[in-house]
Amino acid sequence: MKNNSNQLYAIIGIVLLAVAVFTFVGSDDEMAETPVVEEQIEIEIAEEPSVVEDKIREFEINIVDRKMTLDPSIISVEVGDQVLLNIITDEDLIFHIHEYDHEITLAADEGQVLSFPAMFPGRFEIEIHPVEHDSEEDMNREEEEEHDHGEGEAILIGFLEIMPKA
């Protein structure tokens, strides 16, 4: 029995080792690639401005009936990209990306641009908060609540998926 448990420890050890190897392979790739990206940036600044545009990821966001027309409703980019969203909606609302805390107020049928750098990886909820036009007071209250990051009708319409550099 003691022999068995020794062998068990050996198996657990091997699995742990394999996982560690995977981790290092992963992070090595990352390390290996980072300088390349930096080189690219240096080159483009010097000669080729078109490479800069490659790093800008542009998306057309159409919000109809409180839904994104994008299918699947996921915007996928990589860390380091510049995200550029051209947003157009069919009603007045506040467009909000969680954690990044980007928030813009949109009027119906008036396009707006939201642009920001993808700094940290993760999968972030994109929510809209319809703006009700009951009275001015009400609107103020609602906006205040949004800023407080809490109550008010929040409708999940999709995700911003920022992948770590592979």
Partner: protein, 463 residues
């Protein structure tokens, strides 16, 4: 008067506040990439075969494992003898309970600005489990209701005899309600709701202990005592009744476990609840139930489906487990009944369910757990800064490559532990290595299936 008071609280609880539609805090996990999913699945299968091969020639049937009494270490012994440390923990736990109720009821009603939601859902429910894995049954020492009961010096003599035929079914029921609140109720993080419900539950526990006796109530009706007791059989330490603190191989407590039918059901409930927790947020689940994951009112849309889902998921896990045990019994042609065999094998399911829970919650815990640093300085959300930490900046950068590897690693380790324990149990039951291996074929298949399910849940797109 008393009745009126309760009715008011009950109405407050039942009025579902028309608030935010999603649960509490952000879950920013990226699904684990495909290559890791296959790697994890492959590792689980290979490890399973490796473990079988260990047992092919084994003849020994003893359940013994090496232990070491930690009280031989001077400092541990000194800490153990010094009751004041334990008393400090008890006072802290009672104060935290009171603070949670007060902040919930009186504080800011924005969940992220209130101490109660983060403390209950992230720190206590998400993080406390680690203490049990590392140090054994900590809840037993810090259970605030038990401590209040002892502090007030309530009469320990029960007023009524606990109906023993109820066994631990009340705890099962309470745990199901708790899981429903966590997974299905639309606003589980609403501070006032939390404050009220914890207050009402506190009265139930205190009354229960007074009427049926402290230990009877805790062991049979207090779901967290039962739950954490299960989890701590996983841990590397155990405090024995004669005051030893034994260091033992991790999960070996499961070899000593002898469970009744009600305990078997509780364990399957844990397994089904943690898996259902992963399932209900997947886009796959939304497809199955035919509800659009986007554009709706979140949890309000799925309240009935998921209420049914929790029950169905328990029944499904129970029947699948029971059928595989029945196959195992048929293969070995043993005289032991299927039910008896199921009760004997069920402890082996605990590691895979706990590790899934840990993998599933790790990023959530890391990210939202940091809120507590801010909240201890301003528990009511009134703008206080007691400890000077209320302006703490939350670290949002997660190393996903590390997180993914960690998630797959804990799942595979849990799988290995489960398979290993199931084999040790089967050797004890069948006392014959050939029969024991035969009995394990279906159980092994079941465990590989469960591990793949866990990995799949982590790798699929979810809401």
């Amino acid at each position: 008067m008393k009745r009126l008071f309760f009715i008011i609280i009950l109405i407050q609880i039942l009025l579902i506040p028309n608030a935010y539609a999603h649960g509490f805090g952000s879950k920013i996990d990226l699904p684990i990439p495909g290559y890791l999913y296959w790697f994890g699945g492959g590792a689980a299968v290979i490890a399973s075969f490796a473990i079988i091969s260990l047992f092919v020639r084994s003849k020994a049937h003893d359940d013994s494992y090496r232990t070491y009494n930690l009280r031989n270490v001077g400092i541990v012994d000194a800490l153990y003898r010094n009751k004041s440390l334990l008393n400090v923990f008890k006072v802290i736990s009672v104060s935290l309970l009171i603070l949670t109720i007060l902040t919930g009821v009186l504080g800011s009603q924005f969940p992220v600005k209130n101490f109660a939601p983060t403390f209950v859902w992230v720190v206590w429910w998400g993080g406390f489990i680690w203490l049990h894995i590392l140090f054994g049954d900590s809840w037993n020492f810090v259970n605030p209701w038990k401590n209040i009961f002892e502090l007030i010096k309530f009469d320990e003599k029960p007023l009524r005899q606990y109906p023993d035929k109820l066994k631990s079914w009340p705890a099962f029921g309470f745990f199901l309600i708790f899981a429903w609140i966590e997974l299905v109720y639309p606003t589980p993080a609403h501070p006032q709701f939390l404050g009220n419900i914890i207050f009402v539950y506190s009265i139930i526990v205190l009354a229960g202990m007074r009427v049926f006796g402290k230990d009877k109530w805790l062991d049979n009706c207090e779901p967290f005592t039962v739950f954490f007791n299960f989890v701590s059989s996983f841990s590397a330490t155990r405090v024995t009744s004669d005051g030893k603190i034994l260091l033992r191989p991790i999960a070996s407590g499961l070899l000593d476990a002898r469970y009744r039918f009600d305990q078997l059901c509780f364990l399957i409930l844990i397994l089904s609840v943690v898996s259902f927790d992963g399932l209900i947020s997947t886009l796959f689940w939304y497809d199955v139930i035919g509800i659009d994951a986007f554009g709706g009112s979140g949890r309000y849309d799925v309240i009935y489906v998921n209420t049914a889902g929790i029950m169905v998921s328990f029944l499904a896990f129970f029947s699948i487990f029971y059928s595989f045990v029945a196959i195992s019994r048929a293969i070995t042609k043993t005289d032991i009944t299927t039910l008896d065999l199921a009760q004997k094998f069920v402890p082996a399911l605990l590691p895979i369910s706990i590790v899934y829970h840990l993998a599933h919650y790790s990023a959530y815990f890391f990210l939202n757990g940091q809120l507590i640093i801010k909240l201890i300085s301003d528990p009511f959300g009134f703008g206080w800064d007691i400890f000077g930490t209320s302006s703490y900046e939350i670290v949002r950068t997660i190393d996903f490559i590390l997180l993914w590897n960690y998630q797959v690693a804990v799942i595979v380790i849990g799988h290995i532990l489960s398979v290993y324990i199931a084999h040790r149990i089967s050797l004890r039951v069948f006392k014959d290595s050939r029969k024991s291996i035969m009995s394990q074929a279906p159980i092994l298949l079941l465990m590989v299936g469960y591990t793949i399910l866990g990995l799949w849940l982590l790798s699929t797109s979810s809401v």
